[in-house]
């Protein structure tokens, strides 16, 4: 799983441009399951278990990542763009990006601090004023290399550091994809459906459709969520803590979770000696928001990898939390299939 994680995080795939990620996933699950690609581009996979499931269980992770999209080129050859998904302006200024299929290198420039009024020295420029410099000498040259509508992704390599930490772009939610690939390639107790969904970051588009198609009784969303365990933060303000295992949600801004599933997940993790923790803040949202109200309603559980600096080019998490999240998901899939 570690190698798969590293490879899949490095692939470009903003919302709506998940092709490369999808092809990679298919290359890894081919032969281990049946799958189809739906009209929006999500992969729906069915993995036969040792036994038929009493209840239909769907596991979901999204393939897309946040990034930007080219909206124009100004008269001097600077690229203008819109954000795809929620990106905080302050984590991308002064960073390197790659544009389009040809991976044209560019950088997000900023007016030098020396030329900024003293009062504005810590003021983050407005997102409208941002631009990407690809070194073009004018508009005409820029348009030879970059077209409107092309995707822009962060350039940020996969790094291992400290005590078992990793840093990469797109850990949200390639960590979830890597876990699902790992489960599909292993032996499962019960039949299970998997949704590698598109377009989560722009409003849970893909999972709306896959949940309808699969029509599950139960769903488990495999995600990443903010770990605010930094700068000596204490208690529940940390949301969740790196190294303490998969974070189980009782409520976020998109979903009020089924409380029995929340409790069950923590209990099962404890019984099986898997590290798990409750997510201690009502914040964020994920595909559960779409899945729980699909058709006649679905009971949903979310297991997330605690991740620092989410939606930045430098997401940081602990690899062991990805392993424990996977183990909780596997145990709960069995539990829900047979209950």
């Amino acid at each position: 799983m570690r190698k798969i994680l590293e490879e899949i995080c490095s692939l470009p795939g903003i919302s709506g441009r998940e092709d490369i990620v999808r092809d990679y996933i298919i290359s890894k699950i081919e032969g281990y399951c049946d799958y189809q690609i739906d009209n929006l581009g999500s992969i729906i996979a069915f993995k036969k278990g040792k036994k038929p499931a009493k209840n239909k269980v769907m596991i979901d992770a999204h393939m897309d990542e946040v990034g930007m999209i080219v909206t124009g080129v100004d008269s001097n050859g600077f690229i203008k763009f819109a954000f795809v998904g929620g990106v905080d302006t302050k984590v991308i200024i002064g960073r390197n990006v790659r544009i389009g299929k040809d991976n044209i290198p560019g950088v997000l420039g900023i007016k030098p601090i020396h030329l900024v009024d003293k009062a504005d020295e810590s003021k983050i420029p407005s997102s409208d004023s941002l631009y990407i410099d690809i070194g073009a000498k004018d508009k005409e040259e820029a348009l030879k290399y970059v077209s409107l509508g092309e995707e822009i992704h962060f350039e940020s390599e996969f790094v291992e550091f400290g005590n078992g930490f990793i840093k990469s772009k797109a850990i949200d939610d390639r960590a979830g994809c890597a876990m699902m690939i790992d489960l599909i390639r292993s032996d499962l107790e019960y039949d299970c459906y998997f949704s590698f969904s598109v377009q989560e970051e722009i409003g849970l588009r893909g999972a709306n459709a896959t949940a309808y198609t699969i029509a599950p009784d139960y769903a488990i969303v495999v995600e990443t969520t903010t770990a605010a365990d930094i700068n000596d933060a204490k208690g529940e303000e940390r949301v969740c803590v790196c190294g303490e295992g998969g974070a189980i949600s009782f409520m976020d801004r998109a979903t009020v979770y089924n409380i029995d599933l929340f409790n069950k997940a923590l209990q099962v993790a404890k019984e099986k000696n898997i590290k798990a923790q409750p997510k201690t803040r009502v914040a964020g949202g994920n595909n559960a928001g779409a899945i729980h109200k699909s058709r006649g309603g679905v009971k949903v559980l979310t297991v997330s990898v605690p991740t620092r600096y989410l939606h930045s080019p430098c997401c940081v998490c602990k690899y062991e939390d990805i392993e424990s999240s996977r183990d909780i998901v596997k145990a709960m899939a069995e539990e829900l299939a047979s209950c």
Binding site: K111, P112, G135, E141, G164, A228, I230, E237
Partner: protein, 341 residues
């Protein structure tokens, strides 16, 4: 890309590290590269000093230090507290990748504080340097094993080749100037020139102490400082500032020697080297200011290389401008040597 000599030198020098007062591998590498052309020594402040020939000649200066951060302590959880070294730009540091040069190089990410933990709730404001911490994924005990107070921190970033002959990298300020001087010496190889002194000076970003002390020990009565300057970009006026690709920016300022500025422009024209004047109203904010008043005074010129995004990890320059600067200095030295011969 063209300008392969300049490209190779810049890539090597930008990969080396050296913040003000601890110029480390950058100074070592520049000394090694310089020693191909002249005898080299290091002085008390860490300046790299080279000299070729005897007696009064011309001093070429570029600073070897780069901006960065310095370790001031740890939080209880093992996050690293910092202060800045030189004029690092707080607006580009959230979630920036860094290297802490401790007992070994330690990877880290500057923390990005989620809104609910931010002390300043203004989303459009960067965290202050006082509140800034670096995540190194270690406990305090582990961190203090490998990192000591005063260790230096540099900003990570790739050496990105953009379109044409343009490059984005950390520390183009002022490795571009160091490259211009090395390339100038390469162009002068085999030529009989006046004595040349070279100073790759320390501590420019923290106030120019290196150039101050280095110029005191230099013999030359004439100097050219090479530094970077602002290139036009969105919100950086193209009427006020030169553009990438304009060539060498020849400084005109009350503190600079007017005759030298004029001579440089004249030579640029005669030798078909791209150059434009860059006018400042007093001093220049470069090592030129310190060199000018060394001992009994030194006639000083300044040539600048335009860069975008100064003091970020994506300083953008055009290799053609570095080459033009090198050629202009070389032609100036050739002419000066002929006259004095």
């Amino acid at each position: 890309m063209e300008y392969s000599e300049v490209l190779t030198l810049l890539q090597k020098l930008c990969a080396a590290k050296g913040t003000s007062g601890k110029e480390d591998s950058a100074a070592d590498l520049s000394a090694e590269l310089l020693s191909q052309y002249m005898s080299v020594k290091r002085d008390n402040l860490g300046n790299v000093i080279g000299k070729k020939g005897e007696g009064k000649g011309i001093l070429l200066d570029a600073h070897i230090d780069q901006i960065g951060l310095i370790v001031t302590g740890f939080t209880d959880d093992g996050f690293v507290k910092v202060a800045r070294v030189g004029g690092a730009d707080i607006r580009v540091l959230t979630a920036q990748q860094v290297t802490i040069h401790g007992k070994k190089d330690i990877y880290g990410v500057i923390t990005s504080v989620p809104p609910h933990l931010a002390s300043d709730k203004d989303e459009n404001k960067a965290t202050s340097f006082d509140d800034m911490t670096i995540d190194i994924g270690m406990s305090k005990a582990e961190a203090s094993e490998v990192i000591s107070l005063g260790d230096r921190i540099t900003f990570n970033g790739p050496f990105d080749k953009l379109l044409g002959n343009r490059i984005a990298s950390p520390s183009v300020d002022d490795r571009a100037g160091v490259v211009a001087i090395l390339r100038c010496l390469q162009l002068l190889e085999g030529k009989d020139t006046c004595p040349i002194e070279v100073m790759f000076s320390a501590q420019e970003e923290t106030g120019g102490s290196g150039a101050c002390a280095g110029a005191f020990n230099a013999e030359s009565d004439e100097a050219i400082a090479v530094d970077v300057s602002f290139a036009s970009a969105p919100e950086v006026s193209s009427e006020k500032y030169a553009s990438l690709g304009d060539g060498a920016l020849v400084g005109y300022a009350p503190a600079l020697d007017y005759a030298m500025s004029q001579k440089l422009m004249e030579i640029a024209k005669a030798k078909d080297i791209k150059a434009v004047p860059e006018v400042m109203g007093g001093r220049t904010g470069t090592n030129g200011d310190d060199i000018q008043v060394a001992r009994g005074g030194v006639k000083t010129a300044l040539i600048s290389i335009a860069i975008r995004n100064m003091h970020t990890a994506v300083e953008v320059c055009d290799l053609a401008d570095i080459e033009a600067t090198a050629r202009l200095m070389a032609e100036y030295i050739i002419e000066r040597s002929g006259k004095n011969a």
